[in-house]
């Protein structure tokens, strides 16, 4: 942190350039060893297991009490527009997050008990619907486009199973 603070005090371009050299040199000293391909594979598998868990929850009636699942209205995570949050959402009555909206849907249309916002289940639900929208540009706020046709990404998440989960 000290070095970065000092960097901000450099007054001219050549000094700044020197600082970059210094920082890059320091970086090479302090950097962690890059993850091995096996480690990267593990990380990806952990993400995909969260996505799969989210997919299961998304299509499960267990979150609610009236038989409905999120997937009834939101196949492939459609019409959730995860790339537009945070935004003002009239159902929440405030600027809220995707997780808060997921809880609103669990509480109101599904008549269920909201998840803790930092729970593994909530993170899995978020992972699923964001995964189905990968590649879509981040665009917070509800503009005309998002008030119109909801976005579903191309490939979605190719689950190997169907309902009853």
């Amino acid at each position: 942190m000290k070095n970065i603070h000092e960097f901000a005090t450099f007054k001219n371009a050549s000094s700044a350039a020197c600082a970059v050299v210094v920082l890059v040199a320091m970086g090479s000293v302090n950097a962690k060893t890059p993850p091995t391909s096996a480690e990267l594979e593990d990380q990806k598998n952990m993400l995909m297991s969260a996505v799969k868990r989210g997919d299961d929850l998304w299509h499960s009636a267990k979150l609610g009490s009236n038989g409905l699942a999120c997937g009834n209205c939101h196949p492939d995570g459609s019409a959730t527009n995860p790339h537009t949050w945070p935004k003002y959402q009239s159902n929440l009555g405030k600027v809220g997050t995707l997780r808060e909206m997921i809880n609103w849907c669990i509480s109101v249309p599904l008549v269920g008990t909201p998840l803790a916002l930092d729970s593994d289940e909530m993170i899995a639900m978020e992972a699923y619907t964001m995964y189905t929208h990968r590649g879509v540009a981040i665009a917070p706020a509800k503009d005309e486009q998002h008030g119109g046709t909801p976005v579903v990404s191309g490939p979605g998440y190719p689950n190997a199973h169907g309902g009853n989960r």
Partner: protein, 338 residues
């Protein structure tokens, strides 16, 4: 041999048919862009004008006093209130959610409150627990046709998929669970399959080309969004069989939304459900001005509704979407020409 000859015929005619088909799909007319619907195919044969109503996709659960029960009840009351009274009602499939007999019995009890006769077809949610046994016990044949005031009206089961469950050794409940997911990746594309194509061919064989035809299937008779089975895989064969007619109107459930298309001599309209609306899939609509507004998830009736369809003496149809909330842009509110 009959199967081969039809497919061969289709193969030969596709080159000439395709031009008409794609013109219909991708070149909306100026009229359609104003939201009035597709190309006029005025039939030379006069019919006695009549009105009928359509309901679809109630997705009833085997849970007492479920909110969807009340919405179907409301739709039935709405249809009963239409003056002059519709001659009959068509029901477009997915009466139940999980194929349970209890759901279908409950649905029949509500539909029986209609003050006019009704005809019903299957949706996938009605079928895959017992392969339609309970449904057939309550409602009869999976496909049918009848004539009414000069129009030939056809209903077919369009949700038949190839066996994906035997090799996986799925139980009936598991099979139903797969099919309950709109985005089921293992279930495959559905259609009416060969037996019903044969039936359809025979059913219309003796009809004169100027006979007005109305056909109802659960899924659209065009390739809309196959990932969600917004399609009928043998729709090209159906269109081929119906090609000799001057004008064919098609209506379908399954999509839970306002959507319109016109292919050759067939114009088709998608219908509102009485359960939940579906978003538009990420493809261009052939008639982008014929769509519903985005719904408010806090209003449980938004995106839902019933329908009244008026047919004039020269077989011009108008679909009136009777949305339960303020869902429709003005051009759709005025009615969609079929």
């Amino acid at each position: 041999m009959r199967k081969l000859s039809r497919r061969d015929f289709l193969g030969m005619s596709i080159k000439t048919g395709a031009a008409t088909m794609f013109a219909g799909m991708f070149a909306p007319t100026a009229t359609s862009l104003m939201g009035l619907g597709g190309v006029a195919h005025a039939s030379t044969k006069k019919i006695t004008p009549f009105t009928f109503a359509v309901l679809t996709d109630a997705h009833l659960y085997d849970i007492s006093d479920h909110k969807f029960d009340a919405i179907l009840e409301k739709a039935v009351s709405d249809v009963n209130s239409i003056q002059p009274r519709p001659d009959f009602v068509l029901y477009g499939g997915d009466l139940g959610q999980s194929g349970k007999k209890e759901e279908l019995v409950k649905g029949k009890r509500i539909l029986d409150k209609l003050k006019m006769p009704y005809k019903i077809i299957l949706g996938e949610h009605d079928y895959y627990l017992d392969m339609g046994k309970a449904w057939r016990g309550l409602f009869g044949d999976e496909h049918w046709s009848f004539d009414h005031k000069g129009t030939h009206i056809i209903g077919m089961n369009s949700i038949l998929v190839n066996d994906f469950w035997s090799l996986r050794k799925l139980t009936p409940l598991e099979r139903m669970g797969y099919m309950e997911e709109l985005e089921c990746h293992q279930c495959g594309l559905w259609g009416v399959q060969e037996k019903q194509l044969d039936w359809l061919e025979k059913d219309v064989k003796k009809l004169s080309p100027d006979m007005p035809i109305l056909i109802m299937t659960h899924s659209p008779l065009w390739d809309y969004y196959p990932r969600w089975n917004f399609q009928t895989v043998d729709a090209p064969e159906i269109r081929q069989i119906l090609r000799k007619f001057e004008k064919v109107m098609a209506i379908h459930g399954h999509v839970h939304q306002v959507v319109y298309n016109s292919i050759g001599n067939i114009s088709s309209a998608g219908l509102l459900s009485t359960s939940w609306p579906w978003p538009y899939p990420p493809v261009d609509l052939p008639y982008p001005n014929i769509k519903m507004n985005r719904v408010d998830p806090g209003d449980f009736e938004d995106g839902l509704g019933s329908h009244k369809i008026d047919l004039s003496s020269n077989f011009d149809g108008v679909v009136n979407y009777r949305a339960f909330s303020d869902l429709l842009p003005d051009n759709v509110k005025r009615g969609i020409k079929l």
